[in-house]
């Protein structure tokens, strides 16, 4: 049996706009999403902002009801058996909120241990064990309001593990962390995976998904764009080369013109203050660079380079097609 299964899951938000005349509007955050996560798998969900990752995680953690389709966790339907699911899962959302700032780290864990119905005799040993796991024992008696972002994130991880759940949901756990903190957190996630936990992880960082995940789904505008192992997703761009060209003042019309060239597969644009970095995926390798430069006309050009495509390029290609 799978640990997690989504069958054509959808979620529509109804929002109202206007002050005097109020207008209702529907936003389709998740649109017919289907995938499965096997027990013990470390599964990644990738997508740009607004793709529906957090909405999907909230449906899976029983905090949001799907408006269509079926979402099953540990064999239970989230819409009907939320009470059965909650003791079996742990979740941590990215960001600094969700902790009692006036309490210290240890007391935060003790409080949530009570909410998760841990046996009284188990609470203190479990809290100390988790403080060790997330390397917070030395700071456990300090108020959480003085913690760094990384420490708060690690405390969230410890809170999520209090009741030793087998299915874990992590929504952008390394967001905003410094490189060392992010690496330590990734190591902790890897260790949890080694212990047999099923983990569903969302992230913006391709290298993170590549490094950690057994399988990945890429979603965009609430829809499934691709799924597979990191190797399978990389294969989507195996035949492509990426040409990166720094330009000054490229207009949207000019970028569309580049996009329309017969040897161009996709174009991503990254704004860097006054400059723009064009990432052009093309199957014709080195020949593409002079032809692209020619197509840019008299535009001021900075650095230009050619490189092999990565998982990030596969992601850009997939997501770019939805925009």
């Amino acid at each position: 049996m799978n640990a997690i299964a989504l069958e054509n899951a959808g979620r529509v938000y109804r929002v109202t706009t206007g002050f005097v005349r109020r207008h209702a509007k529907e936003i389709q955050a998740v649109d017919g999403l289907s995938f499965e996560v096997a027990r013990g798998e470390l599964f990644g969900m990738l997508g740009p902002n607004g793709a529906g990752k957090t909405t999907t995680i909230k449906m899976l953690t029983t905090l949001l009801r799907p408006t269509s389709g079926r979402v099953v966790v540990a064999g239970f339907d989230v819409a009907r058996n939320a009470d059965r699911i909650r003791p079996l899962i742990g979740f941590a959302f990215g960001g600094e909120r969700g902790l009692y700032y006036r309490l210290n780290g240890r007391d935060n864990l003790r409080y949530f241990a009570e909410l998760y119905r841990l046996e009284p005799s188990r609470i203190n040993p479990r809290v100390e064990e988790l403080l060790d796991l997330v390397s917070l024992r030395d700071r456990a008696d300090e108020r959480v309001e003085g913690y760094s972002r990384g420490m708060k994130q690690r405390l969230h991880l410890a809170r999520m593990l209090l009741h030793d759940p087998n299915i874990l949901f992590l929504d952008e756990p390394t967001i905003g962390l410094d490189p060392v903190g992010a690496r330590e957190l990734r190591e902790t996630i890897r260790e949890l995976h080694r212990r047999g936990k099923t983990i569903l992880l969302t992230t913006h960082y391709m290298f993170e998904a590549d490094e950690l995940c057994d399988r990945i789904v890429v979603i965009g505008k609430g829809r499934l764009l691709a799924s597979g192992t990191p190797r399978e997703l990389k294969a989507l761009v195996r035949d492509l080369t990426v040409v990166e060209i720094e330009v000054f003042g490229a207009t949207p019309a000019l970028i569309d013109q580049v996009r329309a060239l017969d040897f161009v597969d996709s174009v991503a644009v990254e704004q860097r203050e006054l400059r723009q970095l064009l990432r052009v995926q093309t199957p014709i390798a080195d020949e593409a660079l002079p032809r692209l430069l020619a197509s840019l006309g008299g535009l001021a050009v900075g650095r230009a380079s050619v490189r092999e495509a990565t998982l990030e390029d596969a992601y850009v290609r997939l997501v770019g097609k939805t925009e």
Partner: protein, 260 residues
């Protein structure tokens, strides 16, 4: 059951630690009843029938009610504001138990108002503050605390379900002072307003503690008041339960458990 008691204790302690540094709530507990007690002492002490114990108890009740009113109206919203509501809902413990614990903590802290008001009556004005019937006063006080807590339990979900109700509830401080007879008997109010008093647990709580502290009631009458007080308190909590359920169903359907 034991688990629920442990959560009540944990949530009450958590709330006490938060309230201990919340200046607005501390104002409600310490400063407001202090001024209410002083003002009422000055207003009533020249009267023909003046009972300083009645004033001390009444001013205490105003402080307790203010704290419970404001903090119950913010009990769920506060969790949402600091991002812990999702985590609380996502845990296996029902949210109503957590809020009940928080409001027990609030009720316990509100009790400090009595020390403040006693100090005003006994030390500032030099009156002898005596309890006429200590044997019945203890249960009256205990049941009054239950009544205030139960009323707070009913208030807690209302302001979340309907924002306008939450805004109106914030000005329900003085109407309840009057309708519950904290500082003067409801006999001074028009008779048409009496039914509104009778449905309020704080009215029966205030009646019980005033009768026990000032004397003049037999045990049979007090027993009847205690029963009505406990029944109205139970009714308030039973009425609150479906509202809590409705909040969660609505928040999970609308996606409003978190601010973001």
């Amino acid at each position: 059951m034991i688990h629920a008691l442990r959560v009540l204790r944990a949530a009450a302690l958590l709330e006490l630690r938060y309230l201990a540094v919340n200046r607005f709530m501390l104002f409600c507990v310490f400063v407001q009843p202090f001024f209410v007690a002083i003002t009422t002492m000055f207003m009533l002490r020249r009267g023909t029938v003046f009972d300083p114990t009645y004033v001390v108890i009444g001013a205490t009740l105003t402080g307790m009610w203010s704290l419970l009113l404001f903090n119950s109206n913010w009990a769920i919203g506060g969790e949402r504001w600091q991002g812990t509501l999702e985590l609380t809902v996502g845990a296996p413990t029902p949210v109503i138990v957590v809020i009940a614990g928080k409001l027990i903590g609030t009720t316990l802290l509100s009790f400090v108002s009595m020390v403040v008001c006693y100090a005003v009556g006994a030390w500032l004005f030099g009156y002898s503050i005596t309890i006429a019937d200590p044997v019945t006063f203890v249960p009256s006080l205990l049941f009054m605390l239950v009544g205030l807590w139960a009323t707070a339990m009913l208030i807690a979900p209302l302001g979340i379900l309907w924002r306008w109700v939450g805004q109106i509830l914030n000005v329900f401080e003085y109407p309840i002072y009057m309708l519950a007879g904290f500082l003067f008997p409801i006999l001074m109010l028009p008779t048409w307003s009496n039914p509104a008093s009778w449905i309020l647990p704080p009215f029966w709580g205030a009646t019980a503690v005033h009768l026990s502290s000032s004397g003049g009631a037999d045990v049979g009458a007090l027993l009847g008041i205690w029963i009505v007080l406990l029944l109205s308190s139970a009714a308030a909590v039973l009425l609150a339960r479906p509202f809590f359920g409705l909040i969660l169903r609505r928040a999970i359907a609308d996606g409003t458990l978190a601010l973001t």
